[in-house]
Symmetry: C3
Subunit: 265 residues, 3 copies
């Protein structure tokens, strides 16, 4: 068991929350090592957290522990869970924040973390990151076996991951699932969904998003003309709409959830 722990939350970096969780973990396991994935998940936005962890976890060594806390239901009856998926462990609320991970991994085992022996007492109703999730990650990183934290469950929460649809022979309908730091629009369309536009010399196509049509696929951001919005295969394996030294999101005035329609031929 590695002592490497990643953190993904909507806690922001202005408050002491993230640091306090690390303090709790280091009190349990002084050799824990941390990597922050993001603390700027949109507040309360389980989908955004689910996508963030899914895009990153596979780049970490086997046996990494991933703390994923986007938890609008803190203090309610929603369960804390410990999931083993592929070669990684995840500690999170059971609200769907691991849905993309479940989708990607064949082998998934989820436990309801119920043994309060491992919690920080008294457990508050408003900060389970500090009182439940951090200490569980700490003990797990110290070698406590998964089965010690609670029983396996099969009714864990998993939301339907939005998939692009081929709505006609020539039309694929997807959506923007994320806008990144640079304003690139990341869609849920992968090369497997629209192989026609990802070949070496793609046939003609038009991608409709917002009020605009995009008809050019290029290989690198810097190949874009000034202010042109183009299509590109992004580093996450999805179709992106981008701009050279500019923000496609601003230029197109669209954001997450926007419909993206690929018309072939």
């Amino acid at each position: 068991m590695s002592a490497l722990i990643t953190l993904t939350t909507d806690f922001g970096l202005a408050d002491h929350f993230v640091g306090t969780m690390k303090g709790v973990i280091l009190g349990i396991n002084p050799s824990a090592q941390f990597v922050d994935l993001s603390h700027h998940v949109n507040p309360f936005d389980v989908f955004d957290g689910a996508l963030t962890i899914a895009l990153a976890y596979r780049y970490f060594p086997s046996h990494t522990i991933h703390l994923v806390i986007v938890d609008p239901g803190v203090g309610s009856s929603r369960r804390p869970i410990l999931a083993r998926a592929g070669e990684h462990s995840f500690v999170a609320p059971d609200n769907g924040v691991l849905s993309f991970v479940y989708e990607r991994e064949e082998s998934v085992e989820v436990r309801h973390v119920a043994v309060d022996h491992y919690f920080l007492k008294p457990v508050s109703n408003t900060f389970h990151g500090r009182d439940i999730f951090a200490p569980v990650a700490g003990w797990l990183s110290k070698g406590v076996e998964a089965e010690k934290f609670g029983e396996t469950i099969t009714d864990y929460v998993k939301f339907a991951v939005p998939k692009p649809q081929r709505i006609s022979a020539q039309t694929i309908q997807g959506m923007v699932i994320k806008v990144d730091q640079f304003g690139n629009l990341i869609t849920n369309i992968s090369p497997a969904d629209a192989p026609e536009i990802f070949t070496a010399s793609p046939s003609q196509f038009a991608i409709a998003v917002g009020q605009q049509q995009i008809a050019r696929m290029i290989d690198s951001y810097s190949a874009g003309e000034p202010s042109e919005v183009f299509a590109i295969l992004g580093s996450s394996g999805f179709l992106e709409l981008g701009q050279n030294r500019g923000s496609a999101a601003k230029t197109l005035q669209v954001g997450r959830g926007a419909e993206v329609k690929v018309a072939l031929g």
Copy 2:
């Protein structure tokens, strides 16, 4: 002596300041370990820094060193200090930024850091974080004894921590001391100040803040009705005003310093 060092500053994360301090420390003690508490303390706001460190330090292991740098008086005659409070060490400017810590701990020893042997030369007038506080924390983490840095003092700066007042038998007057990432309003009222509203079945009460009255205490954020602002016992042990998946600060249009009046019965 642990090599664990936390950092709390108003330096932000856009500039190189925080990283440079860590470089200086690692040059002195390569096995130093860092946890960032916050670098988004409101600029020049000693009160905000004082509260941030106070809310977090007790969750760290004994012998942790806490660097706390909110320092509008850098380069003036304000003293650098090294404080031992409870089982923790603090390196900070002597401007009151440790006031809440002094308030919470029974055993406090404060030294004027004056032995410039431990400073990074030449000492600038504008970045004592790099030239004084970081190297002192570095040497301290390497095992240099506290008395080597300077003499104890008793006239260190401590501002009066704002306490709620029982202005009548039925009225407690407090204030908002912090707005967190989610827009929750954290007050300075603890269960000891207003036990009547923190019992299992509290008697009727009304909390006046801004233009609104809040009359309901609930157990978890998610128990709130849409757009309702409610009272809740927060994870710091203070009365909070919050909202379910929303910002009480925005809804009520109030911020830090706002008066909070609890009327009982």
Copy 3:
């Protein structure tokens, strides 16, 4: 070879990019240690990145590896490079982002990183931070020798570092090269450029910037009068225009690139 790696990027902290790079490095070298310098370099702004790394790297121990990724040309023909400058190593795109470092160090050796054996496959066209720069830094931190990554080159990109000009016997013309977190305006004028104003009792001078004249040099921010903008020797060794508990940038309504004219006598 140290396992200490600093990171300077324009990736921001909202996305998973920085964390993912650290995951890749830890997969190669589990004992790598990270210090973030800044991930808030202005997007695509090579000059801003070049300045950020230059202001910080000398405060790190010898043999530190600095990852510097501001890379609008990702996926194009711009080369990845590995530079040894002074006692530090740098992994970066060859776009000038190390220009200030080259300027400061006498001994510089730059290699074109071309041996894709050390890359993460498949190499994307849009995220060389993850696929090229991070793994190269990882292998380098594990002890792979610099010459293994590629041949030395001499035609690496270096932009002209803007220097102040003495445009007449009594006039020095410089510029604002950075605005820091507090709104201080950092110029490119050092004491060597304008010794007359940096003596213990400087002769009369007037600094013209924006619509204003500044005629006072002081020793510490806190010596400034309320709302006064003053001159001060900053911690980076450059003339700064600052304000006591306020933002000179806001007060003067100027930013990076603004002309600064020092008139002596």
